[in-house]
Symmetry: D5
Subunit: 149 residues, 10 copies
Amino acid sequence: MTPIMTRSDAAELVVAARVRRGLSWHEIAEQIGAAPVWTTAALLGQHPLSAEQAGRVCELLGLDGTVAESLQRQPSRGADPARMADPTIYRFAEALAVYGPALKELIHEEFGDGIMSAINFRVDVSRRPDPDGDRVVVTFDGKFLDYKW
Amino acid sequence: MTPIMTRSDAAELVVAARVRRGLSWHEIAEQIGAAPVWTTAALLGQHPLSAEQAGRVCELLGLDGTVAESLQRQPSRGADPARMADPTIYRFAEALAVYGPALKELIHEEFGDGIMSAINFRVDVSRRPDPDGDRVVVTFDGKFLDYKW
Amino acid sequence: MTPIMTRSDAAELVVAARVRRGLSWHEIAEQIGAAPVWTTAALLGQHPLSAEQAGRVCELLGLDGTVAESLQRQPSRGADPARMADPTIYRFAEALAVYGPALKELIHEEFGDGIMSAINFRVDVSRRPDPDGDRVVVTFDGKFLDYKW
Amino acid sequence: MTPIMTRSDAAELVVAARVRRGLSWHEIAEQIGAAPVWTTAALLGQHPLSAEQAGRVCELLGLDGTVAESLQRQPSRGADPARMADPTIYRFAEALAVYGPALKELIHEEFGDGIMSAINFRVDVSRRPDPDGDRVVVTFDGKFLDYKW
Amino acid sequence: MTPIMTRSDAAELVVAARVRRGLSWHEIAEQIGAAPVWTTAALLGQHPLSAEQAGRVCELLGLDGTVAESLQRQPSRGADPARMADPTIYRFAEALAVYGPALKELIHEEFGDGIMSAINFRVDVSRRPDPDGDRVVVTFDGKFLDYKW
Amino acid sequence: MTPIMTRSDAAELVVAARVRRGLSWHEIAEQIGAAPVWTTAALLGQHPLSAEQAGRVCELLGLDGTVAESLQRQPSRGADPARMADPTIYRFAEALAVYGPALKELIHEEFGDGIMSAINFRVDVSRRPDPDGDRVVVTFDGKFLDYKW
Amino acid sequence: MTPIMTRSDAAELVVAARVRRGLSWHEIAEQIGAAPVWTTAALLGQHPLSAEQAGRVCELLGLDGTVAESLQRQPSRGADPARMADPTIYRFAEALAVYGPALKELIHEEFGDGIMSAINFRVDVSRRPDPDGDRVVVTFDGKFLDYKW
Amino acid sequence: MTPIMTRSDAAELVVAARVRRGLSWHEIAEQIGAAPVWTTAALLGQHPLSAEQAGRVCELLGLDGTVAESLQRQPSRGADPARMADPTIYRFAEALAVYGPALKELIHEEFGDGIMSAINFRVDVSRRPDPDGDRVVVTFDGKFLDYKW
Amino acid sequence: MTPIMTRSDAAELVVAARVRRGLSWHEIAEQIGAAPVWTTAALLGQHPLSAEQAGRVCELLGLDGTVAESLQRQPSRGADPARMADPTIYRFAEALAVYGPALKELIHEEFGDGIMSAINFRVDVSRRPDPDGDRVVVTFDGKFLDYKW
Amino acid sequence: MTPIMTRSDAAELVVAARVRRGLSWHEIAEQIGAAPVWTTAALLGQHPLSAEQAGRVCELLGLDGTVAESLQRQPSRGADPARMADPTIYRFAEALAVYGPALKELIHEEFGDGIMSAINFRVDVSRRPDPDGDRVVVTFDGKFLDYKW
């Protein structure tokens, strides 16, 4: 029986190989023709890659077919709670604790009763220069879905 | 001893009075000259208002001085965990579970080791028309802070 | 300042008045022209009612305007975890623990990578006669949403 | 002493072999003469298979006798909580949080005090075409059991 | 609007009135023609009583119609987790932690794959004299339900 | 240094060997002259066996001395919480949630302030034929211990 | 219906009245002829008092019959988890985390397989003078109970 | 790079070797000139041993230098929560839940505001013969530390 | 029976009265001759005040004797976990998560095996001017206690 | 594919090698020209080291390039919760539970609404001689960040 590699083991190999090869996430994303956040999330184990994408990534990073097979597997999505306490990630959770109920009010005010889809959804991160210190700008962009029986 | 009103009781009164008076959050925000998300979050108990802002809100909503005093009080920030399970808020948490580690990677790639501030920070919500269904666009915009000993 | 009634206090009053008046949930649902599960969930605090629906319910049950106002308020959705341990509800959670990962596999097999919407969604409960004992049949029916960047 | 394979290791091997062989869950179910949800759940570790069923599955997937033995073992049922946060599974949990108490009310209204069995129970998933987007239809079908001392 | 009494408030009143009137749980059970464990559990808020039973109990204990109405209400079953740590109750939980997996093995050995119903179920407690100290004997007696698709 | 086998690894080996040898728990219990529930619990890791018992079990099941040594080791008692959610075990926990406070009341009524020992204790499981379906009967039998300073 | 006082409300009244009257716990214990730790624990809600003890305490502290009735009620034992984090109490929990497994080993070495009873049990606290600073000496003294089927 | 042994692996080896060599914890304690509870706790991973103590223990038990090195390492103290549910250890936790708040009151009454140190601290366990059954006597003895700014 | 005020109700009254009277925590601390952090913590419910201190505070803030009595009561120390998520407090917890294990290593390196006392302890907060933005400087200062049997 | 070493495995190797080589954390810190707390935290897995720093550390401790590569990797920050219960670390958490809300009040009083940064931040630990026993002095020093939209 051929060995099986979990998505999280594949992710660790990708992370290490990326550093060793000196490739940025943006370069990998460009090579597979996908958005940077999508590509990074997918390689960290949150989305299945197509056979072509998985093959291209493994070629770029010098990883073998076991990794490529793993990257195509349908994952169980979601993050390890321990990782959510990392300060760089935690600030998003804190912002959500402070502003989440306000976002809910304003979504209902603008759109009516419903939600922002997290499935028909994209997220981008960019740098905005600012004389007082450059800023991280993260945009969540999801289709509005109204409660509809 | 004059009675004391908690920030959460004040928030409930504001929410109910806003509906009764038929005022939108945007209208209230405009009246106190602050951003809509900031204003809504503040009135829900996440930021202290200035005496002038608190007075103006209570005048608009027909609420008395006990409420105005409460709205100026320094709050203990953060949301009731039960509220985070509301579907409209939960989708943000889910997006963070799926894309949080990718955001961390890309922030480090672009800015180096550090975080997006959740204090020197603003968040906006808007509607983007789309033929396949309008979209909720939420922008998190925080100053980058690098780990600096 | 007019008194405010929480959605959960309104729900308790509705539950008690329904029994006292000898009305079934189905009868109330019929009176407001909505599905039984939707109506029951809404009156228990999970959906806002229209002014007309809220007024009709309060008229039927002999409840006053404070209740009617409360029923129209946008709720924070989700159930008290303690209630989820009630045996009648717990059996659904148990079925989900046993069959949830299988449902995920079969949804992906049939539809590709995505989810069943819980927003564009309806649920019905019915009785199916069976010589070995009648059966509870609960149908979850939600629009398929594919992961779409 | 012959090696022992846990049910979860067997499940991982089945999942990988199924993809490699290009077999669908429906095809495997048909081969062992069982319902698709039952078969998938059983192979993921929730039900014991008969010797014949286990043998047939291993033959189809090219797995050896250690796997076949494992598949016949009585499992400890229930899902890893981390898996329940996967969005495809979570939507069912969310629907239950929103509609569970209503289902309880309507089961009591129709059947009296009791529960839907999760043991004398079946669940099916199907696709219902819809011009606004096809729908996932999942039916829970369990014998009513009344509280009986 | 008539006042509403929760099941747990009704339970507290029953407990106190029982002591004041000097009645045992067995005497109350006998008066309503039900088993002692069932009666006690029902009065503590775990089962609805019939109108006749509720009326008889309130007559015995000198409690009014609000209590009687409450006792007939369909409860949300299950115990406050804090109560489960009381030593008299905890010993049952400890016994279950030590012997639960063994009970599962032996139920499967004797009956096949299935469970002891907790719905078609009764439990009795009695004293068994023993020269080394009398013994508490608690019998759980539930219908076997086999996993049946 | 001789290898060490944990009690849980020994338990897994016993469970697998028992099935391979086609021996029932009752047969093993008879061979070591102990009660079935005690024997099963002990082999699953909840009690130390005597050297003689451990030797006899390993002889019956074809297991080596490392297993025999492990079975004699004083265990840390208690079950993996994940196992308690298995439906066959969970029904006991549910019965305890529903009837535990009633059992406490009736123990105090019959015996005074104290507990049923879970140490000077035995538990038996048996089948009681019933025309409406045979029943699982589980008897908890523990010495009463009164609170005694 | 006469008002009911919970055990925890009674405890708060006792604590406040004790300070106001300038009585020590030792003096109260002496007055009811019981050990200081038992008396204090009982008045804080962990043991029922006899009618005579409850009457004597209320007389000493100037509390009325509602308190006396409450103190005789059978309590649900156990402490609020929040209280266990108080530093004076936490040090005992920390000592147990550090030395608990060692105590288990030494109890088994000295007595065989079994436990120290927490029911047939007493605990005393005293001061031991020491030139390097006086010491708190707490003695747990419980009957050994051996695992006995 | 020389292999590293964790403190918990070293503890498991010590426990097994002690049984194989037929040595009691008291004998080991005597050999290294330390108190039995301290010695047992230290070998289970709660205190660092001196080089001489570690060497003597490994000599007695026939363990090699990797174990000796591990035993001298500064540990991260505290117990696995799963172990705290073992009945022999749990009884101490239960006693603390029942009597902890009373101990706090009596420490404050005798010593003023402060705590019993768990650092300048010793604990002993002994057997006290009793005609009604011998007793486990555990003495916690820690320096009083007063809150001192 | 005189009414009782909990420490947390007293704290809320102090916080509100302080703002109304326009007094700073430093001014109150000076008036009672205690350090600012100690005074603030004590008034928020973490330390008992002397009768003289409590009286002086209530005089300054216009609060009555019920508050003064409450402030002298021995509190159960520790913070509401919900408050620990407030961003101003959370940053300390985050720093502890990142640097706590390093602090442990360096305390052991400098002092040997032991702890910094949190009882014989003081903490100060001050502002340090800095051209890049002033800094919050918080000093934890506790007596070293070595593990001493 | 070259092997990958996790940050936590690297940390364990560093800790063991440091002891074997007889080097203090201060000596290592001096060798890489960084502060002792920063260096210790970084080597325990909380900060990435520069290539030069990682190389120097591995040279000093006789560790190979796999360790050096691991030390340069961007970590996921935060501590294992089990480690936070170690008494040496726990005292800081306890101090935070007791004084955290007071620190928040005083930061707001001195600086206005905002936080002490945990990113633009340093922490130092030192010994302060004291005739009553030397003291551990830990200074948290972070830039003040005001809430700024």
